[in-house]
């Protein structure tokens, strides 16, 4: 036997393993799309086979046709909802970070406000919308406020937790250097709360989106929630579903943006893994 054939013997299983690994990787990357497209196909098939009327459950093809036909108004409504969500979300970031910092840095404030905040958070925000309508009337203001109310809490809690859980040893090290409270906060508390903060943004943007759509279906004259309400009241069921699909896509997009920002800002907390586990520090 010569050297080349021996090499072949050793190379071949290796190459197969590489190819297998590559296939597996491709399959994993493609799996979300396979699931989504597959479920749409099943849905389509089920509707045609069981002869379900389109005003009960429209087939995906009907939904896409209706959505394409009404693409202008749908996009307009989606843009409106996006703005409401985003404004509410920005307000939530400002309030959440400021209040979270204060509560996290001061045990007194923590004890004083935490129970009240828990109570406030347990109130379903849908129940607040009618009151907001009484105060602000029909329009985008109740939707913005609902988005804000529902999304500031996770931000606040996460920022407060990050700051309140600074290791006591580290606190001692800094205090023994003559550090003032605000120095401990800026050098350690705030940086270490960043992974918590960015993790909370993912949750906050999702619930803000839900909040504004809920408010729109009750008390708005624009937005995707309002659009769905109008479509279903006219029995344009495929159109209502089309709007629903658009909200799903928007939800995924906003979440993806939040994840991207998180990765960029707090790579040190991920420690080279893909899992996105929050590191305690």
């Amino acid at each position: 036997m010569d050297a080349t054939s021996q090499d072949d013997v050793f190379l071949e299983p290796d190459q197969i393993a590489v190819r297998r690994a590559r296939n597996r990787k491709f399959l994993r990357a493609a799996s979300p799309y396979i699931v989504i497209i597959g479920s749409f196909l099943l849905w389509e098939l089920g509707v045609w086979l069981l002869r379900i009327e389109s005003f009960v459950l429209p087939a995906p093809s009907q939904i896409f046709v209706a959505g394409w036909e009404w693409r202008g108004p749908i996009l307009e409504a989606a843009w409106q909802t996006f703005l409401t969500t985003f404004i509410g979300f920005l307000l939530a970031i400002v309030v959440g970070v400021i209040a979270g910092t204060a509560i996290g840095a001061s045990p007194v404030l923590y004890d004083a406000f935490y129970p009240a905040l828990i109570g406030f958070n347990s109130v379903p925000k849908v129940a607040v919308v009618p009151i907001l309508v009484i105060w602000f009337g029909i329009g985008s203001v109740p939707a913005i406020i609902t988005a804000f109310l529902i999304s500031f809490f996770p931000i606040l809690v996460n920022v407060a937790t990050g700051i309140a859980t600074v290791e006591p040893e580290l606190r001692d090290v800094l205090r023994a250097l003559g550090a003032k409270q605000h120095q401990i906060l800026t050098k350690v508390g705030l940086p270490r709360s960043m992974p918590y903060f960015f993790a909370s943004l993912k949750i906050a943007i999702s619930v803000a989106f839900i909040g504004s759509i809920v408010a729109e279906t009750v008390a708005a004259d624009a937005g995707i929630g309002h659009f769905m309400l109008v479509a279903s009241s006219r029995f344009q069921v495929p159109l209502a579903f089309a709007a629903l699909v658009v909200t799903g896509v928007m939800g995924i997009l906003m979440y993806a943006i939040a994840v991207m920002i998180e990765r960029r800002m707090t790579g040190w907390a991920m420690r080279g893994t893909d899992t996105g586990i929050i590191a305690g520090g």
Partner: protein, 265 residues
């Protein structure tokens, strides 16, 4: 004996109030000279860590008096370097930036740091070199081994030339060989600037290798029950800890601690 750099006179410390309060220290007196390296050993839970907090003013003493450098300690001191068993480096900072942290806080360095940044950087790099971390200055803490993190933690404790260095079981979580390496590193750091050091430890060989004097604490409530001078030349070598003189001292310390444990259990 002249008044020491660190003086404790009949100090007591009690947590919480009323009959449930725990007494951690009672009638604790000690004196440490400027530039002296003192180790404190004792049974676990005897209040060694409490002693550290009281000396640095992080916790006020319930009775007695604490003074450092001739001043009564009434609030946290602002000149102390500290290192603990947990290196507690900041994960978002590189090694170099981590050990520069005290310079951003402690005076007079904080106000000079911007102007004399180059000098301070050079100093930080020199310290890293002293402990063998010069190649790791840009690495993040989680990229370092436990021993390396602890070296960086020691550098951070000493970068601002503290007159007092408090070490609370800094090598407790490391394996034996890494621990010995770090003893040598710490000895070198100490010889370079000769700060006053108080080291709390469970490891008697460590105490004997590093310290000029070893104090033994009783079980809780803790007080100092014995005081041994370590008569070994500097710089010390690891081999010295296996010589009869050192072994005799280690055995004596061991006996005293086990007696201290028995009397209370």
């Amino acid at each position: 004996m002249a008044a020491g750099f660190v003086e404790l006179d009949k100090v007591a410390l009690r947590y919480g109030g009323g009959p449930e309060g725990t007494i951690a220290l009672r009638n604790t007196s000690l004196s440490v000279q400027q530039g002296e390296f003192v180790a404190v050993v004792g049974p676990s839970g005897c209040g060694k860590s409490t002693l550290m907090k009281v000396i640095t003013g992080l916790w006020p003493a319930s009775a007695g008096s604490v003074s450092v450098d001739g001043q009564k300690v009434t609030k946290p001191l602002s000149i102390v370097g500290m290192a603990f068993q947990n290196p507690s480096l900041l994960p978002w900072r590189s090694t170099l930036s981590n050990i520069m942290l005290p310079l951003e806080i402690a005076q007079p360095h904080a106000s000079k740091l911007r102007r004399e940044n180059a000098e301070y950087l050079a100093k930080a790099r020199k310290m890293l070199e002293l402990v063998g971390l010069q190649a790791f200055e840009a690495k993040y803490p989680w990229q370092l081994s436990g021993g390396m993190q602890q070296r960086a933690s020691l550098c951070r404790a000493l970068i601002h030339d503290p007159s007092l260095l408090m070490l609370d079981e800094p090598f407790g979580a490391l394996d034996m060989f890494t621990r010995e390496e770090l003893w040598l590193a710490l000895q070198e750091l100490w010889l370079a600037s000769k700060p006053t050091v108080i080291l709390v430890t469970h490891d008697l060989r460590e105490a004997v290798f590093l310290a000029d004097r070893v104090l033994v604490m009783s079980d809780r409530p803790g007080r100092i029950i014995a005081n041994h001078a370590v008569d070994l030349p500097r710089p010390r070598t690891l081999e010295m800890t296996f010589e009869p003189k050192a072994i005799g001292l280690i055995q004596e310390l061991r006996d005293q601690i086990s007696v201290a444990r028995k009397t209370s259990h």
